[in-house]
Structure formats: structure tokens, C-alpha cells
């Protein structure tokens, strides 16, 4: 099942399948280490449309909802 990161629950893991959006968005995310085929883990989702905290390669990254909704992941079983 392929869903955007913001639809994952806290503590869930997945594999990044694709990054939606133009070149700018893709480069922005890649330059902070969010690349296709990487393992991603949702640390926490802040309430009231707050930021999303994820972990990739042992690094903790905080993203806004807008960017996070562009990362499509495949849920790990």
C-alpha cells in the first residue's frame, strides 16, 4: 500500500517510493537526506496540523505538513 507520510501513524516504518512535485521540491528533500528507496520512520505527528518528525538513516528531521504530504511511502509489514 502506497500512502503519503502524513497518513502513517506514529512509530510506523516504510520505504520511500517517490517524491511528488517539481524539481525544486525533490532537490530540497533529497539534499536533507530524504531519497527514494530509503527507510523512513515516523517519530511523531504534532497535533493541529503541526509539523511531522521523521527519522531517516538515524537522523531526525522535522517537516511541515505540505512537504511531508509529498513523500509517498510503502508501508512495511
Amino acid at each position: 500500500m502506497i500512502v503519503p507520510v502524513i497518513e502513517l501513524q506514529e512509530g510506523k516504518r516504510g520505504k520511500i517510493i517517490e517524491i511528488l512535485g517539481g524539481c525544486g521540491v525533490q532537490n530540497q528533500l533529497r539534499s536533507i537526506g530524504i531519497l527514494e528507496s530509503k527507510e523512513i520512520c515516523v517519530v511523531t505527528l504534532h497535533p493541529f496540523r503541526g509539523p511531522v518528525v521523521i527519522r531517516v538513516d538515524g537522523k531526525t528531521i522535522c517537516l511541515g505538513r505540505g512537504l511531508a504530504s509529498r513523500i509517498m511511502v510503502e508501508l512495511a509489514v
Partner: protein, 380 residues
């Protein structure tokens, strides 16, 4: 030059002996600083550029960086060994510019500590430029770097890639040179998770802020009671003699001020040599000292970015990023560095909101001390 928060300024300080401000959050250097060093009796200009993720500028600090780059004879690219992958994109960008390049693999000890091993020789081969591992904070490897500055640096193989190809290359390079040993869930990870989740993080944030304020008040008052009050107690007879010697008149009014019940009262006399010295040195300075010690602790522990994440939702309501907490927090110490720090915010609108917020609603430590000083009579 290099990514934000990789230690460029520390490398710069080490090379030039110049003291520049370094701190543990991205965006400390927003303007460039210049230094010179002597190589073979020749003076060399070294420029410390603000951190940038790419050569296509997306904020004012990055614009400064790419402008400086156009005038450089040699670029020292500082990269963070713990974040090789995301740092390499800039390295590849620099290589394709065709300027002589040195790669400094900083935070080498940190990388080893977290279980990342990097094959430096292989990385050199793959990139085609010299790579020097360093630990800038302790100075390890800096001598190596300096010795490289003497030698003529071979031009990197002039190649250019499309964005897609760059990412493929980076993937290739990192898998070749980097081995990550698996790390167990450490206490550090646990603390990191707890402080960033809203349920536990928000109470912790309140706790941290309350404890900080309490520590400032407590330690500040202790310094006042045990250090500055005794000093001013010695000073009192001296200034009383001066006052008697001057006799009543205009000069006494200015230097010593009004006598309260025939005595000098440091808080109410309002003379240059009495209240004028007592308030800044006796009351305000102790609080300012303690505040900066505390700010340094919070900064080095890396807690501020977490605070920024937690406050992000709220700050968005007032039109800013959570990162706006950093200038606001610095503004608590003194409004001037706080307002200078608003330069790290991305848009003009955000900078305006942050600067206004600091100016009208964030009391600096000196103001806070004055507030305490004024209100303490009402409390007791």
C-alpha cells in the same frame, strides 16, 4: 564553504587564528568573515562563507555564499562526516563549477562515535579531489589541511551532471565508502524522542523554561547577595566620604544624588557614582552572566531545534516558523543579538514579525532585572 552547521567557522578560526562566533545551530554565520594567514611568507585571504545546501540560492545567506564563490581561487568544502550523503550534493555542484577544490571531512570523531566508517582514500578516488579528515574543534587534521594549501591543487575533472545523475552518483559513492555499524537504541535516542513528541515534549519544554528562569533568578540573586552586595558594602563608606567632601551642591547632586535620610541609598539616590554604578553592575550584570551561561548550555545540548519543532504550530498562527523561537530566545538575553538573529528567517515578513515581537514583547535580561528590582518591594 559547506552545508549549514558542519563547522566551517571552526575550521576558519583554526586556519586564521581569528575568533568568530560558532554555535550549535545552523545559520550562525549569516554574513561572510575574512581572515588572513601566512603561507610561505605570502598572505592568503580566507573567507568564511555562510552555510548553504546548494549553489542555487534559496535564502539571503546562500546568496552571499554563491556570490563569494565566483571570486575564489581555491574552495575548501567542509563536509559533515556524519551526514555524508546530503553534504555531497554541494561537493558535486562545486566540482562541476571547475574550481580547485579541497574537501574537509569534519566531525570525524563524531562519525566514528556513531558507528560510521568512511574510506577516505576511496572517497578521494571517486571524487577526484583531496579529502582531509579533521576534528576542527580539537584541531586534529588542521595541520594536514594547511599543508595542502601550499601545494598546487589539481583541477578536479571537469564534469557536469544533471540533477538526476548527481543523486545516482551520490548513492553510488556513499554505498562504496561508507559502512554504518548498526547502533542499538541508546538512551540518547530515547531522550531525543521524548523531547520531541508533543505529549511528553510540551510538559518537558515548560519544565525546561521554568527551570531555566528559576536558575537565572536563583543564581543571579546568589551572586548579588554574596558578591556584588559585599563589594558595594565596602564601596559605601568610600562614596560617603566623597559625598561629605563635596558638600551639598550641584556636583554632589550629579555624582552622588539625593541623600535618603542623610544616607546614601544605592537604589534611590540616582547619582552617577551611586545608583549609576549599582544598578548595571550590582543588579543587572549578575543576571546577564547567568543567562548567557544557561543559553550556552541549552545551545550546546541541541535542545533549541526541538523547542522550535514544538512551538512550530503556535508560531505558524502568528505567521512565522517554529525556528523563530531562536531569535526570540536570544532576545531574552539582549534584544540586539536577538534582532540580528532574525536574519536566519527566510522571508521578509517573518523577519519583520520576529523583530517586532522581540522589540515589543520580549524583555531583555537587563529589563527583566529591572522588573524584578521594581516589583520585589510589592511582593514582600
Amino acid at each position: 564553504m559547506g552545508n549549514p552547521n558542519v563547522g566551517k567557522s571552526v575550521v576558519f578560526s583554526r586556519l586564521t587564528g581569528t575568533q568568530v562566533i560558532t554555535s550549535n545551530f545552523p545559520g550562525t554565520t549569516v554574513d561572510y568573515s575574512q581572515g588572513t594567514t601566512c603561507l610561505d611568507k605570502e598572505r592568503v585571504f580566507i573567507i568564511d562563507a555562510p552555510g548553504t545546501y546548494s549553489l542555487i540560492p534559496s535564502n539571503p545567506a546562500e546568496e552571499v555564499s554563491s556570490r563569494i564563490l565566483n571570486e575564489a581561487d581555491l574552495v575548501v568544502n567542509v563536509i559533515d562526516a556524519t551526514n555524508l550523503e546530503r553534504n555531497l550534493i554541494l561537493t558535486l555542484d562545486l566540482i562541476s563549477r571547475g574550481i580547485p577544490l579541497l574537501v574537509v571531512l569534519n566531525l570525524w570523531d563524531e562519525a566514528k562515535h556513531t558507528g560510521i566508517e568512511i574510506d577516505v582514500r576511496r572517497l578521494e578516488e571517486l571524487l577526484g579531489v583531496p579529502v582531509i579528515p579533521t576534528v576542527a574543534v580539537t584541531g586534529e587534521g588542521i595541520a594536514d589541511l594547511a599543508s595542502y594549501l601550499y601545494k598546487p591543487i589539481p583541477l578536479p575533472p571537469h564534469e557536469s551532471w544533471s540533477d538526476e545523475e548527481k543523486w545516482v552518483r551520490i548513492g553510488h559513492i556513499t554505498t562504496e565508502v561508507q559502512t554504518i555499524t548498526h547502533r542499538h537504541h541508546t538512551l540518547r535516542d530515547l531522550i531525543s524522542d521524548v523531547t520531541i513528541k508533543p505529549v511528553t515534549g510540551i510538559p518537558i519544554a515548560f519544565f525546561v523554561i521554568l527551570v531555566s528562569l528559576w536558575a537565572v533568578i536563583f543564581a543571579g540573586e546568589s551572586i548579588i547577595t554574596y558578591v556584588s552586595d559585599p563589594i558595594f558594602a565596602y564601596y559605601l563608606p568610600l562614596i560617603t566620604q566623597v559625598s561629605d567632601w563635596l558638600g551639598p551642591g550641584f556636583i554632589q547632586q550629579i555624582l552622588v544624588g539625593e541623600l535618603i535620610d542623610g544616607q546614601i541609598d544605592f537604589e534611590q539616590s540616582m547619582g552617577i557614582l551611586t545608583t549609576g554604578l549599582f544598578v548595571p553592575f550590582g543588579i543587572v550584570l549578575p543576571y546577564v552572566i547567568v543567562f548567557y551561561i544557561l543559553a550556552a548550555i541549552l545551545e550546546d545540548s541541541g535542545y533549541l531545534p526541538r523547542l522550535a519543532t514544538l512551538t512550530d504550530t503556535f508560531f505558524h498562527r502568528v505567521g512565522m516558523h517554529g525556528y523563530g523561537i531562536v531569535p526570540v530566545f536570544l532576545g531574552l538575553g539582549c534584544n540586539v543579538p536577538g534582532i540580528l538573529a532574525t536574519r536566519v528567517l527566510e522571508t521578509r515578513k517573518q523577519r519583520f514579525i520576529a523583530a517586532t515581537l522581540i522589540a515589543i514583547s520580549v524583555p531583555c535580561m537587563a529589563k527583566t532585572a529591572m522588573i524584578f528590582g521594581t516589583l520585589v518591594h510589592l511582593a514582600t
